[in-house]
Amino acid sequence: MQASLSATDIACRRGDRLLLRGLSLDLGPGDVLQVSGANGTGKSSLLRILAGLLTPYAGEVHREGAIGLLDEKPALDEHLPLGKALDFWSAIDGRTNPHRPADMADLMDVPVRFLSTGQRKRAALARLDSQRPKIWLLDEPLNGLDRDAIVNVGAMVDVHRRAKGICVLASHQPFPLDDIQVLDLAEYAP
């Protein structure tokens, strides 16, 4: 089945504040969408709505394909060595021989709590990569990453799009990939 992600007339309310309204999107295989906007305009909330973790104030979301979410919470056990923490998700996802990025081989024995912000982000990306969902939702995927790692994320998303995946990413930085759609949340502010 082909992956698809569509949203119709989404409105999002946090507390008593309306963050955005009237937002619609329709994504198919190979589409990459960058959601941009100032802090507090609802980028993360939109991604959580698309993921089904947050109920939209109005509107509907329709998804075909498994969802993978990368946000500021890495969902890795702090006290475990990184390799063991990632193995838990491989077991949940039923991946017997998961691919691990070569540049993280020497981090696999380091407990997650000792990893830096950027290393955590890369670890969470490795978790997402071995989950192999059709739809990627990346919330600030470039935060804390060095220049090489930023290029790597661009390459990962490119591979994912060539494999007919969908990617929605929220970032205020320019994303290192050509030919991506941009959605500016300022247009949907109430």
Binding site: G52, A66, P74, A75, D77, W89, I92
Partner: protein, 220 residues
């Protein structure tokens, strides 16, 4: 599906036993034993008094010891995004909470029941009292674990959730204590049937109540 449950249970049990998620298994156990140890110092070494009141003290110690693992039981995974990732993989909150409930009970229930024997020796309890205590705790600790899971999930997103959890557990665990300790006073094993019934009810409700709390916390 069953292998997923086993994977969840293994992780939960490891985290709860080692104390990666809060107090660990040793702290409730030591707390329980220290109450049994301190009690004779407080009321005096008279064996008649100890044998008459000791069983009730063991029940109070067990109830209070069940509060200790609540800190971090649910909140840690809520903060680190585990529940979001489970949800995205199509695993229901109820399913995840069932594994957590079983792991939570395994991490303190059997240990408390075993610790009854040294506690009984410290309090000079009679053999019949020990038998009723062990049976009572066997019936009652799953209920304490269930109340604990519900409260930990309800308070997971609050800043001072752990302190509140302790206060909330006491009234909710009161029926278990009344019937569990009541069986000792009346020397009547049939009363333990009520403890078992309350426990079963709580265990049946807990995954749904805790699951709903996680969903509510996500929307908040």
């Amino acid at each position: 599906m069953s292998s997923t449950f086993a994977t969840l249970l293994t992780r939960d049990l490891r985290n709860l036993l080692t104390g990666a998620h809060g107090a660990g298994a040793a702290l409730p156990l030591l707390f329980f034993l220290s109450i049994a140890m301190l009690y004779p110092f407080a009321v005096g070494p008279n064996p008649t008094v100890l044998a008459k009141t000791g069983g009730g003290v063991v029940w109070i110690a067990a109830l209070l010891a069940a509060i200790l693992p609540l800190d971090g039981l649910i909140s840690r995974d809520l903060e680190t995004g585990f529940f979001d990732q489970f949800k995205l993989r199509g695993m229901s909150e109820e399913w995840v909470m069932s594994a957590r409930l079983l792991a939570h009970w395994l991490s303190f229930g059997p240990l408390l029941i075993l610790a009854c024997f040294p506690a009984a020796a410290l309090l000079a309890l009679e053999q019949e009292t020990v038998r009723l205590l062990v049976l009572g705790l066997l019936a009652g600790t799953p209920g304490l674990a269930a109340v604990g899971i519900i409260i930990a999930a309800l308070t997971a997103s609050l800043r001072s959730g752990a302190a509140l959890a302790g206060l909330l557990l006491i009234p909710l665990a009161l029926p278990i204590l009344i019937f569990g300790a009541g069986a000792l006073g009346r020397n009547d094993p049939a009363t333990l049937g009520f403890v078992g019934a309350i426990s079963l009810l709580l265990v049946a409700i807990a995954p749904f109540a805790a699951g709903a709390s996680i969903r509510a916390a996500r929307e908040g």
